[in-house]
């Protein structure tokens, strides 16, 4: 019934508008922008978004207790699960090639600074009631990906991308154990893979805006942790993934008149 009403309204609108007369037409019809845009060429731009990570860190309690009391002192396994989140802001450079005629293939390099961080407390049973504050930060993300897209409308590209990624992480385990302060720190550059997708809208001959979702998987790695003050050295295992939703703005060159 609702569809019928809408159809009737549309027919009425056409009737009331009357015939188009020559005087109403422009002398020369402007070529619509959508007909001019081609995705072939290169682009550079920036992006801003939100990032949400999940990290399982095993075993910070053993790291602390075995450092103070000797290897094998800790019984059982403690895994600290953290959910760091924050903002990502960065830039991207890429090139596209459009063919057949609505398909697009390309390559993109992207890098972001990030404020992602999270923390949690874990109990240290052998120093009861001591606890350790476990903190995780990711301050840099970069990726090189292939992009595949389909021009759904003349100026809207639906795309998927996948490739290699790197995250720069920092871990801190701090607190005091039976009255002695400790501060472990570990840094890493971790490589993994990324898949994602989104849509990009070209709103002028050289500019496009995009919205995109990316999933990063960095697997499980061992991180070396050191406490220079107490001259302790140990390790924790970290499993992590990151999800990002971001909006981007690109400037296109190499096509559309360049």
């Amino acid at each position: 019934m609702r569809k019928l009403i809408l159809a009737d309204l549309a027919a009425l609108a056409v009737t009331l508008s009357g015939p188009v007369v020559a005087a109403d037409l422009p002398l020369k019809a402007e070529t619509p922008f959508v007909a001019r845009f081609t995705w072939s060429g290169c682009y550079l731009g920036g992006h801003l978004g939100g990032a949400f990570a999940h990290k399982d860190i095993t075993d910070p309690a053993q790291l602390v207790q075995d450092s103070f009391l000797g290897a094998g002192s800790t019984v059982g396994v403690t895994t600290a699960s953290l959910a760091p989140d924050g903002v990502v802001i960065g830039g991207q450079i890429g090139c596209n090639y459009q063919f057949a005629p609505a398909w697009v293939v390309g390559i993109e390099g992207a890098a972001s600074g990030s404020t992602m961080k999270g923390s949690t407390n874990v109990a240290l049973p052998l120093g009861n009631p001591d606890t350790a504050l476990v903190q995780a930060k990711t301050d840099f993300l970069t990726s090189v990906t292939a992009r595949f897209g389909y021009v759904a409308l003349d100026n809207v590209l639906l795309f998927a991308r996948g490739g290699v990624a790197m995250a720069a992480d920092r871990y801190d385990v701090t607190g005091s154990f039976t009255g002695t302060p400790f501060g472990f720190e570990g840094l890493e550059n971790r490589f993994g893979w990324i898949v994602g997708g989104g849509l990009e809208w070209a709103f002028s001959p050289h500019w496009s805006a995009s919205i995109e979702y990316d999933y990063y998987q960095f697997g499980n790695r061992t991180i070396t942790m050191s406490d220079p003050t107490n001259v302790f050295l140990g390790s924790v295992d970290v499993r992590q993934n990151i999800q990002i939703i971001k909006a981007g703005l690109n400037f296109h060159v190499g096509a559309n008149g360049w």
Partner: protein, 517 residues
């Protein structure tokens, strides 16, 4: 588009007198000492291309768009009154000249006469920098011989170059440099001092370049063989050719720098492939290996002044997108390198070994850079920015107690603005903010005496420079055989090697005369 090489009014005529006075004052006291190796606007390039220096340089050695294409094409573009190469056929040179014409980077490109009618002059040049250094507090520690504790006037470096074409497709930039010896206080007093040299090879970049068209793609592609990562780069945002272009080696400079910022300059050999696609997208991949101890020593480099030896091949990558429209040119890019470095086992050479540690330190350097350049009627405006992030996995240094942490971070950032006014009698104003920061590490950077805390590598501050270049755009007196640059540079430190206490003591005034012939 104007090539920046026309003759303009000379509103700074009085500056010539001032500059001449400064020049005289500097020359009066010219003696010997070392500066960091610096770069060049070579008269041999001017002889080859027929272009005045200002066609390629906004400043020495900062490049214009045309200068970048000249380098991209392997230093082989001709057009001058002298034959381009000892072996050239006219066809290749003319084709490249035509390519440059079409791209509009050269204001004029004289039609070359037949090669046989022109004289061949080998593309050799020489360069010298004479400078006066004053630091806020004396920075040459006793014993200062052969210098004074402060206010030194010295001549260094003195360099000889091959700069230009070898064949139609192969060209080279190769430098041999004399650097004056260090003050006595800089000697270690160990047997390793025997490997210090005054003459050494310096920046070298031998290139093969060719052009091609594949479908819609217009390519310039080539091969580079060089000895310093980023020396082959086209933009002055990467370390080898970044500002400041001349510095005093007598003044204190921050101790920490990333590996790609010259740690292996002239200690490596690398071969790579590059291409510029549609005059827009630059791609390069180069592989480097360190020279062996004896090779470095034979070439005049003290091996123990370097970090050590690579465990394998170190890859270097570069991607840059350079859109340009009208008089505007923008570049956004990334570069980086991965290095697996085995530190020297005994840098003092007390045990007589030149071996390296079996364990290695791993460095991942990732850099981002950008440049905007605008050519006005009588000026160039250039804005540059670069950021390098180095992740250090110090398995060897941590195990050897040279580092207190198994992993560290080191960052380096530069933000710069340069305004080059005038064509001949060009005045160049440059300002740069620099910042180095990273992880604290007691073994690498020491301990704060007052707090007992581990120091960081942090240093930051400003450098301002005013330079006068008498011959920029016209084929003036001395062209194409001579050029000069006079610079007055001041560097101010807010933080120096992890502390702000006494940082200003390192503030440096550096007045220098740079001549090339």
């Amino acid at each position: 588009m104007r090539g920046g090489c026309g003759r303009f009014n000379r509103p700074f005529g009085a500056c010539r007198l001032i500059a001449a006075s400064i020049c005289f004052a500097v020359l009066v006291g010219c003696f010997t000492i070392g500066f960091a190796p610096s770069a060049n606007a070579l008269p041999s390039f001017a002889r080859q291309t027929g272009q005045p220096c200002g066609a390629c340089h906004t400043d020495f050695p900062a490049l214009t768009p045309y200068g970048r294409r000249f380098k991209l094409l392997g230093y082989t573009a001709g057009g001058g009154e002298f034959r381009t190469t000892p072996f050239s056929s006219n066809t290749g040179a003319a084709a490249r000249a035509e390519l440059d014409k079409l791209r509009g980077y050269a204001k004029t490109m004289d039609t070359p006469a037949s090669s046989g009618e022109r004289e061949y002059v080998p593309p050799v040049s020489m360069m010298a920098i004479v400078g006066y250094t004053h630091t806020q507090a004396p920075t040459v520690a006793p014993p200062t011989d052969p210098y004074m504790a402060n206010d030194n006037v010295v001549l260094s470096p003195f360099s000889g170059f091959w700069g230009g074409a070898i064949t139609n497709n192969i060209g080279a930039f190769a430098q041999v440099t004399y650097s004056a010896p260090d003050p006595l206080s800089a000697l270690s007093g160990t047997p390793a001092d025997q490997f210090k040299h005054t003459w050494s090879w310096d920046n070298a970049d031998v290139r093969f370049a060719q052009t091609a068209s594949i479908g819609a793609l217009d390519l310039v592609y080539g091969i580079t063989a060089n000895n310093n990562p980023t020396v082959q780069d086209l933009w002055n945002t990467t370390p080898a050719w970044s500002f400041p272009y001349a510095v005093s080696s007598l003044a204190g400079t921050p101790a920490a720098s990333t590996m790609i910022e010259g740690a292996f300059a002239a200690r490596v050999g690398g071969v790579g492939a590059y291409t510029m696609i549609n005059d827009l997208l630059y791609l390069e991949l180069t592989a480097y290996r360190t020279l062996a101890f004896n090779q470095q020593n034979s070439l005049g480099m003290n091996p123990f002044d370097g970090p050590g030896l690579f465990g394998g091949t170190a890859p270097y990558w570069r991607v840059a997108l350079e859109p340009h429209w009208g008089r505007h040119s923008l570049m956004v890019g990334t570069f980086g390198m991965y290095l697996d470095v085995h530190p020297w086992l005994d840098p003092s050479f007390v045990t007589g070994t030149t071996a390296a540690l079996p364990q290695s330190d791993k460095f991942t350097d990732v850099g981002f850079d950008t440049q905007y350049q605008y050519q006005g009627d009588n000026y160039w405006l250039t804005l540059r920015g670069s950021y390098i992030r180095e992740f250090q996995r110090l398995d060897a240094s941590f195990g050897d107690f040279a580092a207190a942490n198994p992993t560290n971070l080191l960052n380096s950032m530069k933000l710069q603005a340069s305004f080059a006014y005038g064509s001949d009698n060009r005045i160049v104003f440059t300002g740069q903010y620099f910042d180095i920061w990273g992880s604290s590490d007691a073994n690498l950077y020491g301990v704060d005496i007052s707090t007992g805390n581990a120091l960081t590598p942090n240093s930051n501050g400003w450098t301002a420079e005013i330079a006068y270049i008498p011959f920029g755009a016209s084929k003036a007196i001395g062209w194409p055989w001579f050029n000069a640059r006079i610079g007055l540079q001041y560097t101010c430190y807010n933080q120096f090697n992890g502390t702000s206490v006494g940082a200003h003591d390192n503030n440096t005034l550096f007045l220098h005369l740079w001549v090339a012939m």
